[in-house]
Each structure stands twice: as C-alpha cells, then as structure tokens.
Amino acid sequence: MRFGEFGGRYVPEILIPALEELERAYSELKDDEDFRKELDYYLKNYAGRPTPLYFAKNLSKELGMKVYLKREDLLHGGAHKINNTLAQALLAKFMGKERIIAETGAGQHGVATAMASALLGLKCRIYMGALDYERQKMNVFRMKILGAEVVPVESGSRTLKDAINEALRDWAESFETTHYLIGSVVGPHPFPTIVRDFQSVIGIETKKQILESEGRLPDAIVACVGGGSNAMGIFYPFLKDRVRLIGVEAGGEGIETGRHSASLTAGSKGIFHGMLSYFLQDEDGMIADTHSIAAGLDYPGVGPEHAHLKDSKRVEYTAVTDKEALNAFLKLSKLEGIIPALESAHALAYLERDETLKGSVAIVNLSGRGDKDLGIVMEVLK
C-alpha cells in the first residue's frame, strides 16, 4: 500500500469503499489469463504495440553517445497514455461500471480515455481546467468527436490539479456506476500501483529490445516526469539492474523564478490528491500554482513511488527549463524527422546537460508526439 513512507489513501470516508472495490477487482483481474489476452490483443491491434526502440543515429552523432528512442509517440492517440486507458477501461467493464470519468491537462489522457471508452462502449466525461480547455482547443474537439463530454473546470488555478479535484468530486457522487480512470501514477492507493503496472509494458519491451540491439543493458534511461507514469513505466522493469535512471521535471522559467512544476526538485512533503508525496506548496500547505510550457507536466505533485525512489536515491531527478525543452524539440525534429511532445522534449534536453553520458548508451522514453504542441511552439517562436 505504500512506497517507503509515501502513498497511502488520504480520501474522505465516502470514497473508501470505491477504492476497496477497485483494489479487489484489480487483484482478481491482473493475472487473469482472459484479461491479459484481451488487453494484449487491443494493445497490439488497436494501439500499435510493441513500439520500436529506434537508434537515433543523427542525434547520436551530434551528442557523442548512442541514443535510442522508445517510440511511444507512434501509439494510437500519439502518447503512452493509451496503455493505461485501454487496461483501466477493461477493468471498469469487469467491475460492471458503465461510465468513465477522467481528468486531463493537455488533453492527451482525455483523448486516450475517450478512445478507450468509445471502443468499449462506455459513457465518458472528461474534466479539464478552463485554462487548458482554452489552450488546447483541438484536443477538446477531438474528445468531443470521440463521443466524450468535456467539462471545463472554472475553480482554482483552472488547470490539471483543479480537473482532478472536480473528477474526485464527481466520483464521490457517482462511484456506484462510474470508474475514475486516473491518468498517471498519482492519487490514492491502489491507483499509483495500477497505472505503473499497466505502463510497465514500456520497460518490459525496452529491455528485450536493447538486449537484442546492443547485447547489453543501457547505461542510462531518461524520462520526463509530470505525474510520472511514462517514467515509472520504463523505469520499473530496470529498478533492480545496474542502469542509471533519470527523471526530468519541468523547470519552467527556471527553478529560481518559482514558475515551474518541479515538485521533486523544489517541493516538500505533503498530503494531497489522496497521497503522501512531494508537492509545490506554501508554508501553510496551500497547493501552489505551477507553470510549464508542456501542459502534461503542469502539475504541482508527483506519484508517490517517485518520491520514494528519490529519497532512496535509486533514481536521479532533475529539471530542465522551457527553453532547453524547446531547443531539444527543434533539434530532434531537424535531425531525425521526429517531432516530439514538449513533455518528451524535457527528457531529450537532459542528454545535452550531462557530460558523463558521452560515449555511453542512453535510452530516452519518447512518451508522445508533438503535433498537439505546434500551436504553442508557433506562438513562442513568433
């Protein structure tokens, strides 16, 4: 139930039975052969797994190291999010739920949820901060086309954390018929475990693929960390190996400016959204407003397992700025013909920072593609 001291289930009493039901259903289902078969079927034929581990030869030459990209950007919907939404939507069906609710920041998790819901015939409502709703109009429209209802959330900072607040409020009323399909390794137990397990397919494939192409494990694996699901997914199968694992948070305009979303790098312990973890907050424990050029990283907290991996020093965490991420975004596009999501560009940017990586084999989790970000990048480059 906990990762070291982190995690837990800090929710109003009314949600306890819903979380217990979910925990029971998950432990029944996770090793069930029919469930695995059905999930594997959809991951392969619907989402497009396995994704390639691509040797980026031009970028490698430029950086003086061997860089491999785990191509989650090639999945249906354009991000790793679909791994989790297909699996949780099947879990919801198994529990007899007829309705799905979810939060979304940039809209990637919302889109992936709307897809899985359409596929499996589930009603779907997505909560989205009103600010994000404005910034990400195309994804809002995508979700609507996919049959989802999209609700802009006007309270608080009108971003991702407020969307989660609203989804939790909905769930406290609707849990009998509704599954809350949370989009990252955050929230009360058992969500962080469930989402990590469903995203681990990334790391399991990566391990096989790198052994095939290099005949050995990599020296380092780098992933961006918002809530932390793509990072947990690729790190988890490597936790016991001698491989450097590096999580890259959103440094925004710079940690010193206070305008960032780097909760592990600059936050402190707190209890929010059902979990004990690291949060950006003030001295009274009020949750802070955050900033990142990558909407998917714009969250004041982080999954509890990352908090534990930080304190136990198994994973290194650091932050890169909007500007560094933007440069990496442009560089990968030019050198490899791959436009990465701004989130994933944070992981790429780290490679340029770390001199010790020269001459080594490094894998970057390319968690998503950048089409969704073209509008933002166009604005910034003007």
Binding site: R9, E13, P17, R169, A172, E173, I271, G285
Partner: protein, 245 residues
C-alpha cells in the same frame, strides 16, 4: 458534546477574520464548526469552494484561524470543532498545529480527507494534548469501519448523501437509512450533515433520532449575499432552523 444540537459551519476569513468572529457569536448554535480555507477543497461543492478561494485571495493565513478561535473564546463557551483538510496540518506539523489549536480553545478536530486508517499518529497527538476527534462516516461505510469511527470520535459525523457539500432540496432517503443503521451500531452521538438547509430538514432529522444537524452552505450563502452585514441574518436563520413552531 451534542444533543439536539444545531451545528453551524462558518468558513474562516470570509469575508475577513473579524467578521468570522462576529458570525460565530451571532449564530444560535450548539456547536460551531469552523472551516479552514484550503486551496483545493475536494469534498466541497461550489458554495464553500468560493468562500475558501475568496478568503485565501484576500490574504487569509493559517495562523489567523487561531486568532479567530481565541477571540471567540473570549466571549463564548460554545463548543468548537475545527474542520480542515489534512495538508495544512501536516505541513506545519501535527504537534505544532494541535498544541496551538488546544491553547486557542478548539474542542475537536475534523479532518475531511483523513480516514482513520491513516490517522494513527494524528489521533495519538490529539490524545496526548487533550484534543478530541470527530470522524466522518458515509451511508456506504461498512459496519466494521463504522465501529472504529464510533470508537475514535467524540460524535460521529454522518454524511447524508453521496457527493460533496452544497444545498440540496430534500434530505435523501439514504440519510434516514444511514441514520437508522448508525443508531444501532454506534454508541456515540450522531450528527448528520451535507446538503441540509431548511427548518423541516433539521426537524425531520431530529425526529429520526439525530443528535446533531450540520448546516453549512446555507450559512455561507447568507454571507455571500449580505457580506459584512450578515450577522443578523445568521442569527435569525439559525434561530428559525430549530424553532418548533
């Protein structure tokens, strides 16, 4: 702490801390439930959210809560429950918080997002410093859990329905069923809250055996409407809520 008591919820610092003390004093309440503003109140509906955001953007600080309680205590013996989300308490330190709350004159703590499974240390600190606890129970709370909640609580705060705080037109059947069940299981007094706003709600619940009834969003609405002049309205409204005739 309660018997046929009206429990009146007041959000701290809305519209300012001086008025909060006045509102607390003007309420005809068996118990005052003072709400600590939080940036992300996940168990509250729009009305209380608005009050909290307004207080925080006007510069309300956690230490102001203790100032309010102290001022109130200078003039009133009415029991006072402090209602909070857990993070502010955790952030300043459980012991520091509880010591301050006890010395200001708080009688009991109700922490909305702290179920008893996670509350060992919190309850221990409260016990050590003579602070009482109130835990929430819901219509779907299993019997074994309800027994533990009963054991740990000064009175049990029974949430009347599924969902968040906010005015509802009637008391749900769920509330009466939950009350009936809880009366069989619990030894401590039972308060019912969430959604209650009218005199007939209050009287109905007393008749059904509730020891306390909590009115929250309806009070906040009065403050929203009448601002700094809400004292008399709160006085009148809370008096009318419990009058039998």
């Amino acid at each position: 702490m309660i018997s046929r008591s009206l429990i009146v919820f007041i959000p701290a610092g809305y519209p300012n801390k001086d008025k909060t003390v006045d509102f607390m004093l003007s309420a005809n309440a068996g118990v005052i439930e003072l709400g600590i503003p939080f940036s992300d109140p996940i168990a509250d509906g729009e009305t209380i959210q608005r009050a909290y955001f307004s207080a925080l953007s006007a510069g309300f600080k956690l230490k102001d809560v203790f100032w309010i309680v102290r001022k109130f205590r200078e003039q009133s013996d009415t029991k006072l429950v402090l209602m909070s989300y857990y993070n502010p308490i955790y952030k300043v330190g459980i012991e520091d918080f509880i010591v301050n709350a006890v010395s200001a004159g708080v009688d009991a703590m109700l922490v909305v997002d702290l179920p008893f499974d996670e509350a060992d240390e919190f309850v221990k600190v409260c016990r050590d410093f003579g602070m009482k606890n109130v835990f929430l129970a819901a219509p779907n709370t299993r019997e074994e859990r309800l027994r533990v909640i009963d054991e740990l609580s000064e009175f049990v705060y029974l949430v009347s329905t599924y969902g968040v705080t906010g005015i509802r037109n009637k008391v749900s059947d769920l509330a009466f069923k939950a009350l009936e069940r809880a009366k069989k299981i619990c030894k401590k007094p039972l308060a019912v809250g969430f959604g209650i706003s009218k005199r007939e709600h209050v009287l109905e619940l007393f008749r059904a055996g509730a020891d306390g009834v909590v009115v929250g969003s309806a009070i906040v609405k009065l403050i929203e409407q009448f601002g700094e002049k809400a004292d008399d309205r709160i006085e009148e409204f809370t008096r009318a809520l419990t009058s039998e005739t």
